[in-house]
């Protein structure tokens, strides 16, 4: 048994312990958020608190993902440390490809009022035309590899047949985006503004605030 969780698991009876471990696995391994209906440890406030403590010890936190739905994500302080150390940071091409998907599937539809605030699942696909014809990303093969990597990580999801002009897969943001904390979503929203409108007043305000070192976590 794992020493890290001993003091949280040992006092529990078998049934509660199994419920807690199953919920931990559902949150950490599942591709989609876990439902309270299926997992007693998510319904019970005391067990849910223990679950959050288990996650906390591994750099993770419980994230509310809608009515009766939960998932897990990196704690904001831990995400900042990972970034500072360069651990698990997306390589430039993968980051560029993900940014393109977020711009076409989230930022533009949101600016046009077709997608609500703070929603990262999108029905608006980023097409091969967006990715390969209109973008400044060079190297088709490398872009394909980057998209494959993003798919495997759950950061993008394939949509077929969305582009009448070009063959190939289209993409929408993947389920991993649902694992962002509210602070991380806010940071991503600001980064999208900086990416698509660097000369706007809003971008200037974000830059000034960040330079003043106000907390953005």
């Amino acid at each position: 048994m794992s020493r890290l969780f001993d003091d949280l698991l040992q006092p529990l009876g078998d049934k509660q312990r199994d419920a807690l471990v199953a919920a931990w696995a559902a949150l950490e391994y599942g591709s989609e958020p876990a439902s309270e209906a299926a997992l007693p440890a998510l319904r019970d406030a005391a067990l849910r608190h223990s679950l959050d403590q288990m996650l906390h010890r591994t750099g993770r936190t419980l994230i509310h993902a809608g009515a009766y739905l939960w998932t897990s994500g990196y704690r904001d302080d831990i995400a900042a440390e990972l970034k500072t150390n360069g651990w698990g940071v997306l390589p430039p091409l993968e980051r560029a490809a993900l940014t393109l998907v977020l711009i076409h599937s989230v930022a533009i539809p949101r600016a046009e009022g077709r997608l609500a605030e703070d929603v990262w699942e999108s029905p608006h696909p980023t097409t091969p035309t967006h990715l390969r014809k209109l973008s400044q990303v060079h190297g088709q093969r490398r872009l394909s590899d980057a998209l494959q990597w993003l798919r495997a990580a759950g950061l993008v999801r394939v949509v077929r047949g969305a582009d009448p002009e070009m063959a190939g897969a289209s993409y929408v943001p993947g389920p991993a985006l649902g694992r962002l904390t509210p602070a991380a979503r806010q940071r991503l929203q600001e980064n999208l503004i900086l990416a698509v409108g660097p000369d706007t007043a809003l971008a200037t305000a974000i830059t000034v605030r960040r330079n003043l070192g106000r907390p953005q976590q």
């Binding site: 048994m1 794992s2 020493r3 890290l4 969780f5 698991l9 312990r17 807690l20 471990v21 199953a22 931990w24 696995a25 559902a26 950490e28 391994y29 599942g30 591709s31 989609e32 876990a34 299926a38 997992l39 288990m54 906390h56 010890r57 591994t58 750099g59 993770r60 990196y74 704690r75 831990i78 995400a79 440390e81 990972l82 150390n85 651990w87 698990g88 494959q148 798919r151 495997a152 990580a153 759950g154 389920p175």
Partner: protein, 180 residues
């Protein structure tokens, strides 16, 4: 090592996969330490509560992140276990090295009739995925395959079924490479 350190190690392993570190690195709380052949490096992997695996998702009616070409990927992993796990009474990891040809030959026998080019293409792509996720350790220059550190996380209770499966798989047929 403090709790805060353990949290960062766990998060790093979540982000990067199993971590290959110098052997002098202390083992963070709750992590599994696997010393590599040669002893200079070790792998650090998170050890989940009660060694729970993603297999529990099936019981819960949930899905894990999809693996691309899941059938081919599973067959190549099975073929590698057949070739790299010589003594089924021992633990599978670290096992022994096999050649890429041997692994792809077993893979070919598991789903015959696809032609050399298709076996090579599908097998190589699966080897790349399994290497990236550290189920296998593939050295493309030396054309060698070893088992990756994730194989060591196979829970003890699942090993009898794995042994049985391994016993049912065909052996690699003799080929031009004999440089084990």
């Amino acid at each position: 090592m403090s709790d805060a350190d353990a949290a960062l190690w766990w998060a790093r392993a979540r982000a990067e996969g199993p971590l290959r570190m110098p052997s002098a690195t202390r083992t963070p709380a709750g992590m599994l330490r696997l010393v590599e052949r040669g002893g200079e490096h070790c792998w650090l992997l998170p050890r989940p509560p009660d060694d729970v695996t993603p297999a529990v998702l099936r019981e819960l009616g949930m899905q894990a992140l999809a693996v691309e070409f899941p059938n081919e990927t599973r067959r190549v992993l099975a073929a590698a276990l057949r070739c790299c796990w010589p003594d089924a009474q021992t633990s599978p990891w670290p096992g022994q090295l096999a050649t890429v040809r041997e692994v792809l030959d077993v893979f070919d026998q598991l789903a015959p009739g696809r032609g050399e080019e298709a076996v090579h293409r599908l097998g190589t792509a699966a080897l790349r995925r399994l290497h990236a996720s550290r189920w296998l350790d593939v050295d493309n220059e030396a054309r060698r395959v070893g088992l990756g550190p994730r194989v060591a996380t196979w829970p003890d209770q699942d090993l009898p079924a794995l042994r049985e499966l391994r016993g049912e798989l065909p052996s690699p047929r003799p080929g031009p490479e004999r440089n084990r």
